[in-house]
């Protein structure tokens, strides 16, 4: 996949100050599944996203520990309380040492 590690973040527009908004993020990543051979798992260094950190206005608000049980191109939804206009950032880490970032600007109505 040519764009492995691209992180897209989507937030609704015109959020009222202090209200709770829902955002979605999409990580372009193969998120490898564990292979099986003769009924047993094959041991190798699978490449999958194992940690996702969400930060808003520079502060971490949520952290997800993920596994191979998340589909290809992991997509997550979460909520945040929109107190100020600012950056909502998502950082994803994978098992091969990859670190991928994506962000969206939160604009209050």
């Amino acid at each position: 996949m040519s764009v492995i590690g691209e992180v897209r973040v989507r937030v609704p527009g015109g959020i009222a100050r202090g209200s709770v908004a829902r955002a979605r993020t999409l990580i372009i990543h193969p998120n490898e599944r564990v292979e099986r051979k003769d009924g047993k798992s094959v041991d190798k260094n699978y490449r999958f996203v194992n940690r996702v950190v969400v930060s808003y206005l520079g502060r971490d608000i949520a952290e997800f520990d993920t596994s191979t049980s998340i589909g290809e191109n992991p997509s997550f939804g979460f909520a945040f309380r929109a107190t100020e206009s600012g950056t909502l950032k998502v950082t994803a880490f994978d098992t091969h040492g990859g670190r991928f970032e994506g962000a969206a600007e939160v604009k209050l109505a």
Binding site: Y46, A62, F64, D65, T68, S69, G71, S75, T95, H96
Partner: protein, 162 residues
């Protein structure tokens, strides 16, 4: 002469330790995908016991909304969302939401750690489901109370999840 040799050895061990310290974090980060670093293969009851020990898990059907399709055409990509009706204040909030898939070899699919700044205990993800069976959501409150709901999903084409 003897003193010289000791000094040289010290220099070498020092250099080796320094090299290891530089190489190690990288090596560790690169090796996280091996089976030993994944959750163990186990039935879901064992996962629950491993995660929560003997702590009581209450029925959360009054407060947790677990949204899943009734029939998942593609087990490799099943939308799941969990919403817990709870205040999100520093005094009382949902600390963690666990999503477990009963029929997957490694049932713990994801663990969502939340903060009061989330404003609402809501998470969504795209799951891989190995087979038709239950999907559970467990909410852990900041005081340690546990609530669980489960729902059955029919999987048409297995996602060969792990």
């Amino acid at each position: 002469m003897a003193q010289n040799a000791v000094t040289r050895r010290e220099v070498f061990t020092g250099a080796a330790a320094a090299a290891l310290a530089v190489a190690w974090p990288h090596a560790k980060a690169r090796a996280q995908g091996f089976l030993a670093n994944l959750a163990p293969e186990e039935p879901v009851e064992k996962s629950l016991q491993r995660l929560f020990g003997s702590r009581p898990i209450k029925d959360g059907s009054q407060v947790i909304t677990l949204d899943l399709p009734l029939i998942a055409e593609d087990g490799g990509n099943v939308a799941v969302s969990v919403e817990v009706k709870s205040p999100m204040t520093p005094q009382s909030y949902v600390k963690t939401i666990y999503v477990l898939s009963d029929k997957n070899p490694r049932p713990l699919s994801a663990k969502f750690n939340l903060m009061p700044a989330c404003g609402q205990a809501y998470v969504a993800a795209n799951l891989r489901l190995a087979d038709t069976g239950d999907v559970r959501a467990v909410a852990e409150m900041q005081d340690g109370a546990l609530l669980m709901v489960k729902r059955s999903v029919r999987v048409v084409v297995p996602g060969c999840a792990a």
